[in-house]
Amino acid sequence: MSFTKSARILAIGLMLHWKRLLEYRLNLAFDLLLRLVDSVTFFMFWAVILASSNGFAGWGLKEFLIVFALESYFTALVISFAYAGLYMYERIHNAELDSFLTKPAQPWLLAIVKGIEPSFAGFISGTAALALAFTQGISMQPLALLLGLFMVLLGVAITALFGLSLATLSFWLGRMDSLESVFESFWSFGGKPASIFPIGLQVLTAFTFPFIFIQTIPTMAILDKIPVQEMLLFILAEFIVLIAWIFAFKFLWKKGLRNYESGGG
């Protein structure tokens, strides 16, 4: 199936979910409220930590503002798309996958399209954080900012593939109830400079929730602490992780599908 067809299907899926979201405006308002609470908590936490120390691994509020913006975009996209991939395990277990398998499109793409949960609050809070940084006179490298957003997109693809790959395990395993908590446990590595973690953990998170690619490196580059050229190396590394996941997912999906037992009847 061509990339353009996939993109068009995804776009229509987004449009349909937008329509659905407008039907339930209250959910949207509640989502915004939760994000506001989350933002306040984030800044209160780091304000307390930074007040009782001389910075955190060389980071101050300025860095955390950028981190927050990037994480907000990442969170919005992960909630919107990557969770739909993770929840494919339910569609495998309840045999909803059957309907997707009888369509001339990738069944996992159709599972994602149906499961999209647009989260706009993250985009609003991310943009608000960047606007605040701008009004506070924090100097930002525009190219690094653009590349940083690109790294966020690649990071979302990595996390989505991680979620999809986890979901394919349900072709073999019966109980997958704790899958969501395993997936979510990686959130705890976010919102901090990656350098505080041992190298093993940094590599592990690069393959799951790649905070080093979506937060640490872009933040340093945006604030001109590392040259933009250095970012390109990390973009290359992110691409390698992404390609590794594409192969891993394709392998698991192919093997799993042969093992698919469907259900009912």
Partner: protein
């Protein structure tokens, strides 16, 4: 000459056996246990283009497994299958453009949105040009009388309306083969009748091959040109409904109310040649072997010996035959 739309040869499928015993919960399902239960055993058949095949059997007979292999959902252990020239599990995407599938217990619609809302998604999935799509969609809505509810959110639709919309989705791309897995399950009598007439219409007007699995023998009698009966994974009958009936209908039931017995000994002889099912006053219900006496003979024997106020001969329905057949097997 009619060409075969579906060709199945020596199809076999097994699933890993569920682990038994006290220690079973502590054993991993991975790697898969080697013990397997065979759900399809050496199934072979063919369906001609434009034919309606009724694929019937009791629960666990292997009906759904067959339909899932034919639509590319499951991969068989061995055997060969060709649906419109494609091997389903190897050419799933290509095949999907040629077939429509409706699972009675699963919907293609989105709960919060109306069927009309999600049509652009299916237009894109099937890559139907905008103009052709609009024409086809309107034509199907008109044909299935869905104008009134096509814009209603799916959650507000009745089961019958939802099934009609599912059928519309499955037919958008003018499939050559329509797979229907229990399409009338849970529907009321009117909705069932409507569903049958829609399927018949599509089959007649578009020469669509229909592969139908159902537990409702009225669906089969109303629609199927040919039936295949499966049990415990094996095919036990393939042919016309009439052939099946001829082969398996053993008895007919004659019911009547006697006003006057004219010839007592002839009446006695009639009773001896039949099996009395019930008698209430002058009202009798007698079962007779159709191998020994056909309906016409039974009636003439009765009228020779009795004057009756009511008379009826009823052959076993397909439902009753199938039920007995399942019990026997």
């Amino acid at each position: 000459m009619a060409i075969d739309s579906i060709i199945v040869q020596n199809l076999e499928k097994s699933f890993p056996k569920k682990q038994q015993g006290k220690k079973a919960p502590f054993r991993l399902q991975f790697p898969q246990p080697k013990e397997r239960s065979r759900v399809l055993k050496d199934i072979s058949f063919s369906v001609r283009q434009g034919e309606i095949l009724g694929y019937i059997g009791p629960n666990g007979a292997g009906k759904s497994t067959t339909i899932k292999i034919l639509t590319g959902i499951l991969t068989p252990d061995s055997g060969s299958v060709s649906v419109e020239g494609f091997v389903p599990w190897k050419q799933r995407m290509e095949l999907a453009k040629k077939i429509g599938v409706v699972f009675g217990q699963k919907t293609l619609l989105w709960w919060d949105l109306s069927p009309k809302d999600i049509m652009p998604l299916y237009r894109e999935i099937y890559e139907i040009p905008e103009k052709a799509f609009s024409k086809r969609f309107e034509e199907l809505v008109e044909r299935f009388g869905a104008k009134e509810f096509i814009s209603t959110p799916t959650r507000k639709l009745s089961l019958g309306e939802r099934m009609r919309c599912d059928l519309i989705v499955a037919l958008l791309h003018k499939p050559k083969v329509l797979f229907l897995d229990e399409p009338t399950i849970g529907l009321d009598a009117i909705a069932k009748e409507q569903m049958r007439s829609f399927v018949k219409k599509i089959n007649r007007e578009e020469k669509t091959t229909v592969f139908l699995t159902t537990h409702d023998m009225n669906d089969i009698e109303a629609l199927a040109d040919k039936i295949i009966v499966v049990d415990k994974g094996s095919k036990i009958f393939e042919g016309k409904i009439e052939e099946f009936k001829k082969k398996h209908v053993k008895e007919a039931v004659m019911s009547f109310e006697i006003l006057q017995v004219i010839d007592k000994s002839a009446f006695k002889s009639l009773l001896s040649k039949t099996r009395q099912l019930s008698q209430e006053g002058n009202y009798y219900e007698l079962a007779f072997s159709i191998e020994r006496m056909d309906a016409q003979e039974a009636a003439s024997r009765l009228f020779k010996c009795c004057k009756t106020s009511s008379f009826q001969i009823k052959e076993q329905t397909l439902e009753e035959i199938i039920r007995e057949f399942y019990e026997l097997h």
